[in-house]
């Protein structure tokens, strides 16, 4: 949607105001309503679909494959496809590379995918963006998070030590015995006493900076008047890599001050837990519903 200079200026002024006024009357730290469901694909190890209120929709499927650990340097492969755009489109490949490097840099995820001394699981995360009005980074991140939460890997029954004799891993036949990839943080009180092995997927939050104000989950109109886009990753209760600025199609890009940067930092610190908790709740609810079916 293209706006006239007058409309853009009006929008910019209201977003710059203190307190800012967003066109949809949201708080600065409030996400748009989403409709989320996990475990929708029977042929994938984990999957999720999220619909945004502006009509954006994203489907993620996670599949695992046993590979010899030495044959590959990257155990996670992320592939983003945006409906209506070419296959090697720059937006799609930027998104793929952001998520691929973020997930591959997680040591504990690599540890979790390790099967034996020779073999590991390799995860293929395929993202399909069916439609998007605003920048799809935030939507894709939420969907990947939910899909990874619902990912289950078959239980290994052969021995874990095959350093002496190579042995092809054998798995339990019963899918009910499969172990979840992530630890599900049940309640907030639980998250305080988490152990080192505790791991939940990283969550990348996209923000738009307008003047001194920061807006989480910007709409297309807000992106156009933003100084710059900014994304910060939140994982396991702390801020992690990557923290990056991103071109989100603003008409008048500008620099940001370091105070804005610290403000963005504290915003993510504030809402990271809340967002991940609500997605976890979605997953737990879906899981309960599917187990009561049988």
């Amino acid at each position: 949607m293209k706006y006239s200079p007058a409309e853009l200026s009006y929008l910019k002024e209201s977003l710059k105001a203190s307190p800012p006024i967003r066109p949809d009357a949201r708080l600065e730290t409030q996400l748009r309503p989403i409709e989320a469901i996990s475990n929708i694909l029977p042929t994938a190890n984990g999957s999720a679909r999220i619909r945004a209120s502006d009509g954006g929709e994203c489907i993620v499927g996670v599949k695992a494959k046993v590979v010899p650990t030495s044959s590959t340097s990257e155990l996670i492969n992320v592939d983003v496809e945006i409906s209506g755009l070419k296959e090697n489109n720059s937006l799609a490949s930027t998104l793929s590379s952001i998520f691929q490097s973020t997930l591959n840099s997680s040591q504990s995820l690599r540890q979790r995918l390790k099967l034996t001394s020779r073999f590991s699981f390799k995860l293929f995360i395929d993202v399909l963006v069916l439609s998007n009005q605003s920048h799809p980074l935030g939507l894709v991140s939420l969907t990947i998070y939910l899909a990874l939460l619902s990912t289950k890997l078959p239980l290994l029954t052969s021995s874990t030590d095959d350093s002496k004799a190579e042995e092809v891993p054998v798995f339990h036949d019963d899918w009910d015995q499969a172990r979840p990839l992530c630890d599900i943080p049940v309640t907030q009180s639980d998250s305080s006493k988490k152990s080192d092995s505790h791991w939940t997927p990283p969550l990348i939050l996209l923000m738009a900076v307008v003047g001194e104000n920061i807006f989480i989950d910007p709409t297309n109109a807000e992106e156009q008047v933003a100084s710059t886009g900014l994304f910060i990753s939140w994982s396991n209760g702390s801020i992690s890599a990557p923290l990056r600025t991103l071109d989100i199609g603003s008409t008048d890009p500008q620099g940001i001050s370091s105070t804005v940067l610290s403000k963005a930092y504290s915003i993510v610190e504030q809402c990271g837990q809340e967002i991940s908790d609500s997605l976890t709740a979605v997953y737990v609810q879906d899981e309960d519903a599917s187990s009561s079916d049988f």
């Binding site: 029977p42 042929t43 489907i59 499927g61 409906s83 293929f124």
Partner: protein, 181 residues
């Protein structure tokens, strides 16, 4: 391009996670292109194109999971989506596939494993008629069995048409009650 009618363009994208083994298919895969072409031709006949001349309808199909009956499912989904979009059509286009087991007995709606071992054909009909609007057969079938195979498939198509009609009516009812509230 025929300017007196509506132009249909069909895109099919098959997700890498749709099958048991992950496989990335290029978008210009020959088989998928062919499939899109057949769907376009089938629906060109089924819609009342003359009502909206010089227009285009874009149909995007995303295959998220598949286990046999790929082509038939694409046609049925397109049919329902066109109805949801309010595109005027003569009747439902319903499709179904049948495999031939042991060169004698027909198997309705084969899955992936059956499709890979047995010869099978896909038929689409418009409405509850015996009129075949599309027939796809890519393997060898004895000629004397063909007729019975087509007959079984058509009856499958008819029962699918009823199913679809029931769902569409249910959906329509839901939308009307929502509007009147």
């Amino acid at each position: 391009m025929n300017l007196d009618s509506t132009f249909l363009s069909v895109n099919i994208s098959v997700s890498p996670f749709s099958t048991v083994d992950r496989k990335k298919r290029p978008r210009n895969d020959r088989r998928i292109q062919e499939c899109a072409m057949s769907i376009q031709r089938t629906f060109q006949e089924a819609i009342m194109g003359h009502l909206h001349s010089r227009t285009e309808i874009v149909i995007s199909l995303h295959v998220l999971a598949q286990d046999g009956g790929f082509f038939a499912a694409c046609i049925n989904a397109t049919s329902l989506a066109l109805i949801d979009a309010g595109v005027p059509m003569y009747d439902y286009v319903s499709a179904c596939s049948t495999a031939l087991y042991d060169s004698i007995s027909p198997l309705l709606d084969p899955n992936n494993a059956e499709e890979s071992d047995l010869p099978f054909l896909t038929v689409a009909t418009i409405g509850k008629t015996e009129k075949v609007s599309m027939l796809l057969l890519e393997s060898k079938v004895p000629l004397d069995r063909l007729e019975s195979l087509i007959a079984v498939t058509i009856s499958g198509c008819h029962s699918l048409r009823d199913q679809m009609d029931r769902q569409v009516r249910k959906h329509g009812h839901l939308r009307i009650t929502k509007r009147s509230e």
